[in-house]
């Protein structure tokens, strides 16, 4: 029972991530790649993404501190960041990235700054949600299954 209940919770947590647009089907692709050879594949990828994206964010922040803004360079960085975000299916993050790129095209300094703030916000939000998800998700857990099975027994 507990097992089912927990499973359900995990499922609904996962579903809401999709429903609320935080994640897109790329995430499912990652889940599909997970197998016995790489049992924690999805988590590994997400971890990798977040460590790498930190570097990219720093690049953009530095560039945004240089006035007048080098929109070309900013767009470049953002292009990279967006590409990276697409790897884990970070949907909302990607949307904000596009917004940022629009501002670059329009050479809108304030727009860029504001858009970037949004990007960082979404980026951080998703990270939190995914961390929680991984803690409870089946792939992650020896711990969880243990608890569940024990409770179920």
């Amino acid at each position: 029972m507990e097992q089912n209940h927990i499973k359900k919770q995990i499922n609904s947590a996962r579903n809401s991530l999709f429903q609320q647009g935080y994640l897109d089907e790329q995430f499912i692709q990652l889940e599909d790649l997970q197998d016995d050879a790489n049992p924690n594949f999805v988590e590994e990828i997400v971890t990798l993404f977040y460590s790498d994206s930190t570097r990219l964010i720093r690049n953009i922040e530095t560039a945004l501190d240089n006035y007048p803004l080098n929109f070309c360079k900013l767009d470049d960085y953002m292009h990279q960041f967006k590409g990276s975000s697409s790897s884990i299916g970070a949907k909302k993050v990607k949307e904000e990235c596009s917004q940022f790129q629009e501002c670059c095209k329009a050479r809108n300094t304030q727009g860029c700054i504001a858009a970037f703030r949004q990007v960082k916000h979404e980026h951080a939000t998703l990270k939190r949600k995914l961390e929680t998800y991984f803690q409870v998700s089946p792939s992650n857990s020896l711990y969880n299954t243990h608890i569940i099975s024990r409770q179920g027994a």
Binding site: Q29, F41, E44, I45, H79, G83, S87, Q101, K105
Partner: protein, 569 residues
């Protein structure tokens, strides 16, 4: 490269496409890891690289170590498109581009630069599962190309086949289309384009389709500059094709060089083997490539030049070489070589064939043999090759003696035709060999042997009256228009004759010191009469007799025929 079961070199003998060796290049570590996992799931053998330069090094180190490359478009150390071009040029591997940006112009650029596919990130498994098709496709095309002597060779053949007439350049249209993407780019997204387009007014690095016309121009330019001294810039300037870029020319030049080298190697192999029919028949263009290369070059040049000076000039230079060796040497030219050289693809071959038909039986053969080499000696080094081969004209000569009448001719012609035909046909199909051997069947165009010659004769306009005799034979062999062999229409014959003229002029000049010519000359007035041809007087034959022995078995007649037909007067 050892061909695996599936036709591609792979150390593994896995069932295709399993074991496909993929090189993934992406500066994004997350994507790199994902792609690696995805490809592994497809049972591919994956190597990852975070830097373009690193990827190139890897590719260079392990030649034939990879089957396909997947690369991201945006990379810090090198533009993905540049990498794409390098790979295409140096390794000739299929390259798939990836990007999160799916803008039409970008995708178009990718295709222009030679990408065989352009994937949008996020990439799906199913897309990766199918990448093997690009490897397979390339293999198939390579095989085809090799058989037909490579696309370059095909181009050359077609070039020769044409009659020098420049036609509208398809390439223009193609490249015209390429212009658009460049113009459409938006600043932010196409800043890469900015850098690129800054240098060129036209499409930069457009993947050019080398049409026959374009290739013709190219070869013309190369030959004009002098093969040893060519450089992309010079060629480009000479070609005067506005939308073509230096890079386009450079890459094509590289391929052309490789192609020529390969011909040369094959040619050398053939020549060293001595008199061997097999060289000629069994192989496609395997034999006598050297000659072939040169001939092709020259031919290419000559073919697109109007019956011209260049031709004559070439002929002259050649002739000198030949002359040095003495008249006799002309005669001692090894038909085999000659044949092989141009036979592989040559138009010459066809022309010689025609010549053969006109020639008076075997006599012609011998002459032909001699002559041919001369003609083909346009290319440097040809001379050597020429003299290496030893034809067995005697055999043919004898035959010729026996029946100099038309009937014989026809016989011979037919024999000759076959090889010739096959040569001509071979130009377009890889079945030269088969045709050469197939004998009588192939003489479709030569079927009416006498007819063609008749046609040819009238249309023939000898460049030099004194050399008329040879002319008819020259006319005949218009290899370029193998289709005209059937000589169905005079027009084509004329074209042929023009080519022949060139050849003959060439030959004539070369032969000027040969006694054969003199003899031939006596026959001049009669040359225009096919019957005359058929009845080559014995003295003519004598004049043409060569010292070399005929060693080829009867079925090898085909070869000698080819060579001989042409210039025998």
């Amino acid at each position: 490269m050892t061909e695996g079961i599936n036709g591609f070199s792979s150390p593994r003998a896995d069932v295709f496409p399993a074991g496909l060796r993929v090189l993934v290049v992406d500066d994004d570590p997350t994507w790199l890891k994902i792609l690696e996992k995805m490809l592994k799931k497809c049972s591919y053998e994956v190597t990852t690289c975070a830097l373009a330069i690193e990827a190139l090094d890897l590719l260079r180190e392990r030649k034939d170590g990879f089957d396909i490359v997947i690369s991201d478009v945006n990379m810090p150390d090198m533009d993905g498109f540049k990498l794409l071009e390098h790979v295409g040029l140096e390794m000739d591997l299929p390259v798939i581009m990836m990007s999160v940006d799916g803008e039409t112009s970008r995708v178009m650029r990718g295709v222009q630069h030679g990408a065989c596919d352009y994937l949008l990130k996020p990439i799906r498994m199913k897309e990766l599962r199918n990448i093997w098709q690009h490897v397979y496709r390339k293999k198939i095309h390579e095989v085809r190309d090799t058989e037909s002597h490579e696309s370059l060779e095909s181009l050359e053949e077609i070039l020769m086949m044409r009659n020098v007439s420049e036609q509208s350049d398809d390439g223009y249209l193609l490249c015209g289309g390429d212009m658009t993407p460049g113009k459409k780019r938006k600043d932010a997204e196409h800043k890469y384009d900015d850098k690129d387009f800054g240098d060129h007014s036209s499409v930069k690095k457009a993947r050019v389709v080398w049409t026959v016309d374009l290739h013709q121009k190219f070869v013309k330019a190369v030959n004009h500059i002098g093969f040893e001294k060519v450089g992309p810039k010079k060629i480009l300037d000479l070609m005067n094709v506005p939308w073509l870029t230096r890079e386009n020319v450079a890459s094509h030049l590289q391929k052309y060089r490789l192609y020529l080298t390969r011909l040369q190697k094959d040619d050398l192999k053939t020549s060293s083997s001595g008199i061997k029919h097999p060289d000629f028949s069994p192989r496609d263009a395997a034999g006598d490539r050297t000659d072939h290369i040169k001939m092709q070059q020259n031919e290419a040049v000559n073919s697109y030049r109007a019956p011209s000076n260049l031709l004559l000039q070439n002929a002259n230079s050649r002739i000198h070489e030949v002359d040095l060796k003495g008249t006799a040497s002309l005669q001692t030219i090894e038909p085999k070589k000659v044949l092989t050289g141009f036979a592989a693809k040559s138009h010459m071959a066809s022309s010689s064939n025609i010549g053969i038909s006109h020639s008076f039986g075997s006599t012609q053969y011998s002459t032909y043999n001699t002559v041919l080499p001369t003609q083909y000696s346009w290319s440097e080094g040809f001379t050597e090759i020429q003299f290496k081969q030893e034809r067995n004209p005697q055999f043919q000569v004898e035959n010729g003696f026996a029946d100099l009448g038309l009937p014989t001719l026809q016989q011979h012609n037919q024999v000759n035709l076959q090889p010739v035909q096959s040569i001509a046909n071979g130009l377009f199909s890889k079945e030269r060999d088969k045709q050469a051997k197939s004998s009588s069947g192939t003489k479709s165009s030569f079927g009416s042997y006498s007819v063609p010659s008749q046609n040819l004769m009238p249309s023939f306009q000898p460049p030099d009256p004194s050399f008329q005799p040879p002319d008819p034979s020259f006319q005949l062999p218009d290899p370029v228009t193998s289709s005209t062999w059937s000589l169905k229409d005079d027009h084509s014959l004329e074209q042929t004759s023009i080519n022949n003229l060139e050849l003959s002029a060439f030959w004539l000049q070369g032969q000027h010191c040969s006694s054969t010519n003199l003899d031939m000359q006596n026959k001049v007035p009669e040359c225009n009469d096919p019957e005359f041809i058929a009845e080559v007087p014995s003295n003519l034959y004598d004049a043409l007799r060569f010292d070399y022995e005929y060693e080829y078995p009867s079925d090898s007649l085909e070869y000698p025929v080819v060579g001989q037909g042409l210039f025998i007067v």
